[in-house]
Amino acid sequence: MVLKGEGIAKEFIREGRGTNRFPAVSDTDIELAPGTLTVLSGRSGSGKTTLLNMLSGLLPPTRGRVLLGEQDLYSLPDRELSRLRNEKIGVIPQGQTAIHSLTVSENILLPCALYGKPDKSAEAYAAKLMEQLDIAPLAGVRPSELSGGELRRMAIARALIRRPEIIFADEPTGDLDDENTAAVFDFLRSTAHEGAAVLVVTHEASAGDYADRQLVMKAGKIDI
């Protein structure tokens, strides 16, 4: 399914003298097609995370629409949008995002547990993802014992466990070494080529080698 942003913009109110509307993302059109790995780069503060959040259904835009297929995401009530996001959209957020009371494998399976019980095939898929991401031995370990890179790979597995059609990754290789970085990009590219639409926000220069499409963001606008 295609994910489309139509004229989406986000303005934040900045504290200061009077009301100061600050455009983090200016009216932007963007389309993410199945089977494509799109790489989005740009200076810090240029609005990449803001754009990604809007596209992934986490941040309502000030203007414009986000369409998944024919469905306008932000016209849905929270319950339906959440379920839709749970099934169709995988997000690897910036930073460390583990639930500390759960083990690594419970963290990975959590998306399957929100609206039901993880079944055998989900468990098998989790095992496979952990194998591919090289964290299989850590399945029963708590996140507090993991390194930053291991946590990041756990977050990747968690984003993929529902086999989403759209995948967003915000700096997924921020704290990984070159070898792991290459492995993650390899992994995301093969996921894209299996049919998902993937958007990766990254500073990584080597990302271009894996990208089907490269976008650069400058002061809230996509520069093509």
Binding site: N86, P93, G95, A98, I99, E106, A159
Partner: protein, 399 residues
């Protein structure tokens, strides 16, 4: 699965969970203990009213000045006093008397059953209207000669023989618990108590040396007829009989009901204070516990948890903690309050009758509801706030 996530969250932070649980346990403990105390005092008072059973009591004047009479009935001390039997005929002429019966008091020296002296009360089987209806609940036969009926706290059993001033008495029945001084009293008929009194005089153990048991009584119990109020009958009796004094039982126990009101109020205030304080601390504790995990909740949003689901997760945690904590608190409360009822009675120096098992269960259920609800209510604030969580803001480049 949601519940198991909530439980895992609780187990993941044992310290925090323990604090929350102890708080709710304390809340439940206070509520159950407080309600048991108040309810026991209430039923103690109404049981005392029941047991006194008459609207008016007439006693020798000196018995009221020395307070010996009130102390016997309300404090459980022992004693006796006598007035001439002719008083009964005079009083019976007062207008508005419905029922009238005499009683005869005696105190034992320490006897076989009891390490302390017990109060003996003799009633007239012909006219008695206060004691026999009560005895009948435990023992539905007329008392034979030398039969006694004993209060619940006395350490003897039906069929035992107890000796009072050399008179062998058979325990015909043991009364149910009243929570009043009557629990350490021995009741018997006029014939038996007079026999004992005579023996006590013969042995030189009675302070009234020259008294003839056949010619005296200790007090008169009166219920008024419908024509006159107890007030009027009391005034009339006191006007015409100088050596005796008529008192309304209501007035006599007004001291008890006053202090009961006082204790109830204090317990109520304490309960309210603990409730408010506990509620505020719980509110803070839940807020902290949730704030600390704001990011984890944001992550749950990212993987597709609805706002309602987040709120339910918080509420599940709160309910689990509240339920466990409250159950512990209530068990502890019952464990303290039930076995130590006797101590409470002595400490408060007031009639104290524990509620029945059924009522105790109802009080426990109510305490459970109050403390779980308090926990839930305070957690609801956090649940609401977490459901309004701005995921995009929380997860934006925060490391």
């Amino acid at each position: 699965m949601l519940h198991s996530l909530a439980l895992k969250n609780l187990r993941g932070k044992p310290g925090r969970t323990a604090v929350l649980m102890i708080l709710t346990a304390l809340l439940a403990l206070t509520v159950i203990s407080g309600t048991i105390i108040v309810s026991s005092l209430r039923s103690g008072l109404s049981s005392l009213e029941d047991r006194l059973g008459a609207e008016i009591m007439v006693v020798p004047y000196e018995a009221t000045t020395k307070k010996s009479f009130e102390n016997i009935l309300l404090q459980g001390s022992t004693g006796y006093f006598y007035m001439d039997k002719s008083v009964m005929d005079q009083v019976s002429e007062t207008e508005g008397i419905g029922e009238l019966s005499a009683q005869f008091y005696l105190a034992s020296t320490s006897s076989g059953c009891c390490s302390i002296p017990v109060q003996l009360i003799g009633f007239d089987p012909e006219t008695d209207f206060t004691i026999q209806p009560w005895i009948r609940r435990s023992f539905n036969e007329p008392l034979k000669e030398n039969d006694i009926v004993i209060g619940n706290d006395l350490n003897a059993f039906v069929g035992d023989t107890l000796q009072f001033y050399g008179v062998d008495c058979r325990v015909a029945a043991k009364l149910e618990k009243t929570g009043t001084s009557f629990d350490t009293t021995v009741f018997t008929g006029f014939d038996t108590i007079k026999k004992m009194t005579r023996a006590s005089i013969d042995k030189g153990l009675n302070t009234y040396k020259g008294v003839d048991p056949e010619a005296v009584v200790s007090c008169l119990l009166i219920n008024t007829s419908d024509e006159r109020s107890p007030e009027e009958v009391v005034n009339d009796t006191n006007l015409h009989n100088k050596k005796v004094r008529a008192v309304r039982t209501k007035e006599m126990i007004s001291g008890v009901s006053d202090s009961l009101g006082g204790v109830s109020r204090i317990v109520g205030i304490l309960m309210a204070a603990v409730w408010v304080l506990g509620g505020v601390i719980l509110l803070l504790a839940f807020t902290m516990s949730v704030n600390e995990r704001k990011k984890e909740f944001a992550v749950m949003r990212v993987i597709g948890a609805s706002r309602g689901l987040l709120a339910r997760t918080v509420m599940s945690e709160a309910l689990a903690v509240g339920l466990f904590g409250s159950l512990i608190g209530i068990a502890l409360g019952l464990f303290i309050m039930l076995p130590f009822a006797g101590a409470a009675e002595q400490l408060l120096a007031m009639p104290y009758l524990l509620p029945s098992a059924g009522k105790t269960a109802a009080l426990a259920a109510a305490a459970l509801a109050v403390s779980v609800l308090t926990g839930a209510l305070t957690a609801a604030v956090s649940a609401y706030r977490i459901s309004r969580l701005d995921t995009g803001v929380i997860l934006r480049g925060d490391n």
